[in-house]
Amino acid sequence: MTRLFINSVLAFMICPAVMAQDDQQLGTVDFTLDVRPILADHCLPCHGPDVQARRADLRLDLPSSATSSRDGLFVIKPGDPHASLLVERILSTDPDDRMPPPDHIDQLDQREKDILIAWIRQGARYDAHWAWERSASIDAPSVSDPAWCRNPVDRFILARLDSAGLSPTREADRATLARRASLDLVGLPPEPAMLEEYLDDDRPDAYERYVERLLASERFGEHWARSWLDLARYADTKGYEQDGARTIWPWRDWVIQAYNADMPFDRFTIEQLAGDMLPDARPDQVLATAFNRNTMNNDEGGTDDEEFRVASVVDRVNTTMEIWTGMTVGCAQCHDHKYDPISQQEYYELFAVFNNTADRDTQDESPVLSVLGQSDQDRSSRLRDRIIEQTTRLITSTDTGSIGEAIKSSDSVDSVSWIDDELPPVALELSTESDSAWPWVRDEKPGPVSGDRYMHSIAGSDRIRQHYCTDSLSPMVLAEGDRFSVWVHVDPEDPPRQIMVQLHSLRSWEHRVYWGENHVTWGIDGTPSRKNLGQVPEGGSWIRLEFAPEDVGLLPGAVVDGIAFTQYGGTVSWDAFSLVGQGSAPVHQHDPDAWHRMIRASNPPTIPPQLRPVVSMDPGELSEADRRIRDGYWYAMINPSGRNIHEAQRRNLADAQRELAEVEARRVPVPVMRELDRSEARTTYVLQRGSHLDPADQPLDPGVPGILSASDEPVDDRLEFARWLVDPANPLTARVQVNRAWESIFGTGIVETTEDFGTQGELPSHPELLDWLAMDFIENQWSWKHLLRTIVTSSAYRQSSVTTPELLRVDPYNRLISRGSRYRLAAETLRDQALYVSGLLSGSMFGPSVYPPQPEGVWKVVYNGSEWMTSNGEDRYRRGLYTYWRRTSPYPSMMTFDAPSREVCVSRRIRTNTPLQALILMNDPVFVETALALAASMHQASPDGSDRAMISDAFRVCTCREPEEEELQHLVQLLQTEMAHYEDNPGEAVTLLEHHAALSGTPREQVPRVAALSIVANVLLNLDEVLTRN
């Protein structure tokens, strides 16, 4: 106590000199701008939110703790620095008392001390952190030049410029603006025709019209999906050591479509975070949840799946919070956040939100959703429509009189042919081959033994090949004494080593007979599940093979609705599979009620949609109309005489169904989220020091951090959490998103630290503009296109980016938007642009990722033998976002241009400027080829035109503007020098042209010219102006 007293006196003696002048010099101290950063850097690590690290039970981030009385003493006494222990401690020269302690790295400097003292003198007012404050309604400020302002954005920008004594820069010329808007909105330079139209359009709203066309372009979604993929850490592999392939590109396509359709951001959020939990979730809503399955999956042998499942959940919490709230919560995984008010307990409440999904780092990545690619989805739905329509037409075309006849008669037959020229009535056609079609042939040798076609199947040597079908709506029904019969023709030049027939009954395939060797190992040999009936028949002629139902373990009365023909190697033909010996056709073939009862009981998937409601009813309860539908279908598809009459229509229908089956066979498994139900639910605990092996004792319920919680409504699960994120009452989400849009357009966000809106992040340059944009975004249904339209049609956006030393001095980083922004294009955009201006870019959208050329050997990895299979045709020239993204070895040129590896969420790509980038743009074969293609199009456009005209054209394609005379002269001179060089070295010219296959036919005398042009093109494609968005 004595020491303290002495120090107080000392402090008192030292202080006045400092204190007397501080207020004058510093003026009014702002808590957010001036004080909080000092507290955060120097004090909060030990006197902040982290309960473990907290000393002296003091929290300087909370006024309640900092200003409360401690035995009559105050750490901070508002208005009275002399009575505040804090002041005494920071001014103390005694190493035992001084704060921060002398061994602390971050010592306070004099100015920082002055600020703290002034702040206390002025009342020690604590303001809440701006980002978590609710927005008040904001009016655009008044400005010096209202006429300059096209929309409210401009008023905020101009008001700030006014206060800095600056004026906006003049508007950029139309060509620059056209290129800028196109690169910003669709990630490509403008189409030449569109550019022309815009340049010639003298209507007052020409620019707005131009912007609308860009917003409506399909390229828009591709461009904006690209940055979402960085956030979502999208890749085509699973990461970690094995880094095996993952099929998740259908989700990437979902994102592109969502942007193109301008899906409201709140829906975009809910579907990606919890689409699986929406009532009656559609497949596309479940597909959206693949967003959070982009976490890495560890397939390395010997790893603990739970460890990596926990790592995935941690990643989901961190990524979701960063993207939607701009909060970096990761540190609270191990301990309370040192700066932001997020406790470890709150972190694990967030963890609990995500901890209840079925995935658990297994190699198969279950749960998965079976998904079709975009074009196949369209094809599939067209085929389904066609099948419904054809079925309806078939039913209405049947003749009621004939149906009546058919019901009365019951033919006596001695054999029922089940497969002849076509599948069994209404069955699914399937195969082990990649397309599911059966190999029907008509004219090839040996020719059919019955009807007009047969199956002709060729397997590679020692390969199993199988064609099969199931779920026939007119199954075989076995009677006493029946036998199965099938015709087989073996190619004497290429005999199979084994052939096999299997039957499907009561959902089981365990009914097999085979001839020849014993290679196909399904079932148990020597039993009806795999019984040998002799050798493979002699080759060269059709032979009829017969077997008894007891050979395959079937009894009279058994219903057989599927069959499979299998071979091991060789070439074999099959024809006319039938049941021999029946006295009459099965009852269901001449009694529609019997058929109805049979399929109602078995309910196979082959029942067409129109029939489903009908056959689900009891046959006695059918209305007249329903009966008409059922009987018509039965007559045309099941009844033998009806089948004969309607054969052509049936075949059409079968073709459509086969096509559909082929399309459906291309479904791919995409990992998605599935919530565990109550019985399987996981309990969440705080994981001490973040270790999954060290849970605390107390179970936790899901929840959201108190600082962000707008209401007391509990957030119980992922769906409620997603809805909470986009609740308009939650101020943060919209702010973070509009900031991201601003950053994408201007190069730097209103808050520069896009990823951190917390107390450690940068403060907004235009806080009111940020709030206004956020509210406007919400009020306009969270429309991304509305937001971008607002930004790019503002006068602020349209400023020229030409800068002056004066502007560089006053507004060096253009944080005030005193001019248009200028920055290097992103990796993908550079690639897309080069391909586009050279005419190589493929416009094709969606689908599996592609493999444009990359150097050999880049893909050598440890355990995973996968190879880079360079794409052919237009897939070499697809937009960058379709390039296969392998986490342990991403596409080299993208990495060099600052693309992240996509292992974790990355909000901002830091733009660098390095020699390795120059090497890529000059020498990478992809870019060399674009130069050659551009040269080729220059040459073709005017084979003997003037050099000047030709170069001007190419210059315009690359920059959207005419070259100036000086520029033109440099390029013309280069062309002439290189022409001379390649004329002297024709071999070199030929070698150069080999980079682009399309130039292989160039006439010899033109080769030097094209080679020289490609050098000019290479320079054009490397121009700073081309690599930069102006």
């Binding site: 790295i105 050591e241 990761g330 590896s901 830091i910 890529i920 390029l971 070698t991 490397n1022």
Partner: protein, 484 residues
């Protein structure tokens, strides 16, 4: 701290100055302060930097050559003699060891595996080294062996990331990135951080072990390939010769200068410089990578073969790069993951073969640096990402002898750079399972290496996502006993 964050007024006014050139070619800001102490030519003081306090400590070394035996060699067979294992060979290992033990592959109750190799004492220091390393035994007095290393990770990828980034998870900068961020480059024609790989495969953790994490990407390691271009696209495309390239660059430069005058963007000037540097690298990189210029005696000393792609070549390249001022040279040699599932990964065939492929070259590198007077300011460090078990793995009843992953103890050695030569530090228990004396954790090693380069590991921090990050996370202690 990248170029974008530089004061653009300075950039603009200075145009192409040395300082501007430096910062845009990937030198760290610290380079400017620390570099001056190291006597580098381009060093210039810069007031007001966050790193004007550099160096934190008087540096003893300028560069690191890290020789990583990827997969992790068995310490019991190379550097940590355990005679007590011999009578126990083939016996079930003591129960006490198995309590709470987790193994990557071992199942059931494993049996002790004594080393089939003999150890002997070498040099004046008398350190024990296995017969598998005869050349290194010959320079035993130059080595600083640490037998008490331990780590927190026991699978390859996380353990390698832990070793180089201080964290088993992705996204942190590697040691080489931290170092070059702080020190900058010693050669304006070459990248400051270069990586060479042998053994046919890149390390398990992939390029993240030389990634720059959240540091600017100019600080990532540049992998030199041993086939094709040593650096991607460093060669002129077929059909474009040096003269054509020079003339086209001249035209490009004129056009870009025109643009810079019109637009006033300092970044354009920076880009012009990057193209110039690229042009110079096109010559300097193939030159430094061409070992055919070395005399026959040196090639023989390393066992290197011009045109080859083995570890010996990479050791010689490491010396050449070090001579040229490259700060951080990282070699990965695959093939040390000796589990004993076959002759390709056992300790009877594979291990002696790997030793034959590397022993001579490592010893040659150290001796060569020494004879050139470079060993004093170059740290050579050799080791894996963790240790191997004292027990035979016997995966699926394999008859081949091998050892499983083992995080609790392993051995490494250093040479040069101010480390105490002829020292063997730390000890493990009788069977080499746990460290019992002077443990050195991976974070301690990192702290010590940074210390030798002049950094206080607690002050080499970078703020990212609202948090200060450092290589040693919140741990690490400089092992003073290892350094002179």
């Amino acid at each position: 701290m990248d170029d974008m964050n530089m004061d653009p007024v300075l950039r603009f006014n200075q145009g192409i100055t040395r300082r501007h050139f430096l910062s845009s070619s990937g030198a760290g800001l610290g380079a400017i302060a620390l570099g001056s102490l190291l006597g580098d030519t381009q060093a210039m003081p810069l007031a007001g930097d966050a790193y004007s306090g550099l160096p934190h400590i008087t540096p003893s070394a300028k560069r690191i050559i890290y020789l990583h035996m990827a997969g992790s060699p068995p310490q019991q067979d190379l550097l940590d003699n355990k005679p007590a294992l011999v009578p126990l060979d083939g016996q079930p290992c003591p129960d006490s060891i198995l309590e709470n033990a987790r193994f990557a592959f071992i199942k059931g109750h494993p049996k002790i595996l004594a080393s089939p190799y003999k150890f002997a004492r070498h040099g004046q220091s008398g350190v024990e080294i296995s017969e598998l390393l005869p050349h290194l035994s010959g320079i035993a007095d130059d080595l600083t062996i640490v037998r008490s290393m331990h780590t927190s990770e026991f699978n390859h990828a996380p353990a390698q990331m832990f070793l180089y980034t201080g964290s088993p998870r992705l996204g942190r900068p590697s040691m080489g990135s931290w170092v070059t961020w702080g020190l900058g480059s010693g050669n304006e024609n070459l990248p400051a951080y270069m990586v060479l790989v042998s053994g046919g495969k890149v390390p398990s953790a992939g390029r993240s072990v030389w990634g720059s994490g959240f540091l600017p990407s100019v600080h990532q390691g540049v992998q030199c390939r041993t086939q094709g271009d040593p650096i991607l696209y460093v060669g002129d495309p077929p059909g474009i010769d040096r003269d054509v390239r020079r003339r086209s660059l001249d035209a490009l430069e004129r056009l870009n200068h025109h643009q810079a005058r019109k637009h006033g963007d300092p970044e354009t000037l920076s880009r012009i410089e990057q193209y110039e540097l690229a042009f110079k690298m096109q010559v300097s990189v193939p030159e430094v990578m061409d070992i055919s210029r070395e005399p026959e005696s040196i090639l023989q000393m390393y066992g290197a073969e011009p045109g080859g792609s083995g570890f010996a070549n990479n050791c010689l390249l490491a010396r050449r790069l070090a001579e040229q001022g490259v700060r951080f040279i990282q070699l990965f040699d695959w093939g040390w993951d000796t589990h004993g599932t076959g002759t390709h990964d056992d300790i009877m065939n594979q291990l002696p073969m790997k030793c034959r492929q590397t022993d001579q070259a490592v010893a040659a590198l150290i001796a060569d640096l020494k004879q050139r007077g470079m060993l004093d300011d170059t740290i050579v460090i050799w080791g894996g990402e963790f240790g191997r078990t004292a027990m035979n793995e016997e995966r699926n009843g394999s008859k081949f002898l091998g050892r499983d992953h083992h995080p609790h103890a392993f051995s490494i050695f250093m040479a040069g750079g101010g480390f105490k030569p002829g020292l063997a530090w730390g000890a493990t228990d009788e069977i080499g399972y746990r460290v019992v004396e002077n443990p050195v954790h991976v974070h301690d090693l990192q702290a010590t290496l940074l210390h030798q380069l002049g950094f206080d590991h607690e002050r080499l921090v970078y703020r990212h996502q609202g948090r200060d990050y450092r290589l040693t996370d919140v741990h690490g202690r400089v092992v003073d006993e290892l350094i002179s």
